[in-house]
Amino acid sequence: MNPSSVSSRFAVLGPYPRTAVAVLLLGAALLFSFGGMRTSLYPELLSVFEWMETTWFGYVGKTWGGAFALVQGGHLVSLGVLGGSVLFSDGRLLGLFSSLPIRDVIDGAHKVFVGALIVVAATGVFMVCGVAVKVYYLPVFWYKMLTLTVGVLFAFFVRKPLLDRNIDQVNPWVVRLVAMSSVMVWFTVAATGRWIGFS
């Protein structure tokens, strides 16, 4: 797509539309969290989680421990693959594996990342259905959903557009900052995910 046509479409957001959208989303997230909307929406969601337990996934997850364990195994393995792709790609951006071509590492790792993310999400939905009401009352579950959402939005709408161009054009400190924050957000997703298992 022609960059000028894209910029004219988002001209209403000013000279830096991606930055404007990022700031607006961050502001909306803060308003949602601290403006009372989160606490008013929370009770409404209980019926959704109760319904999830009545679905086919919910029945299988609750009554057949082997199926739940099998899917959880797939969830953990795919999360491991996702974490590996993040560490490999961001490690390369931070200066590790410097003998490998940076473009090949970033593009290859992104393909693995997308595949692993799809499996993580699909198996995660199944697992939540089995223990939906339990996780509804766990604050750490909501922290995981928050960090997962931030991680996905960050990967596709901030990190990828920045790194899709010639990396040499980008300020190296910005590249390092992006790599560090990517590792941090996916570390938090993994840690809060395991925390759910211990809650």
Binding site: P3, S4, Y16, Y143, V150, F154, V158, R165, S181, V185
Partner: protein, 50 residues
């Protein structure tokens, strides 16, 4: 400088600025969140073992 080059530079500045804003927020959140969690664990350990 051609219009195409100016547009590319502007897009680069926009992507860079967005990356700095979002990455800075993530790093700040990460430090604050895990600091509170570590503090909470320390308080629990102090309550348990003195």
């Amino acid at each position: 400088m051609s219009d195409q080059q100016k547009e590319t530079d502007k897009t680069l500045r926009d992507d860079t600025l967005a990356a700095v804003v979002v990455s800075g927020s993530i790093v700040t959140f990460f430090i604050v969140y895990w600091s509170f969690e570590i503090q909470s664990v320390r308080e629990l350990l102090e309550m348990a073992y003195g």
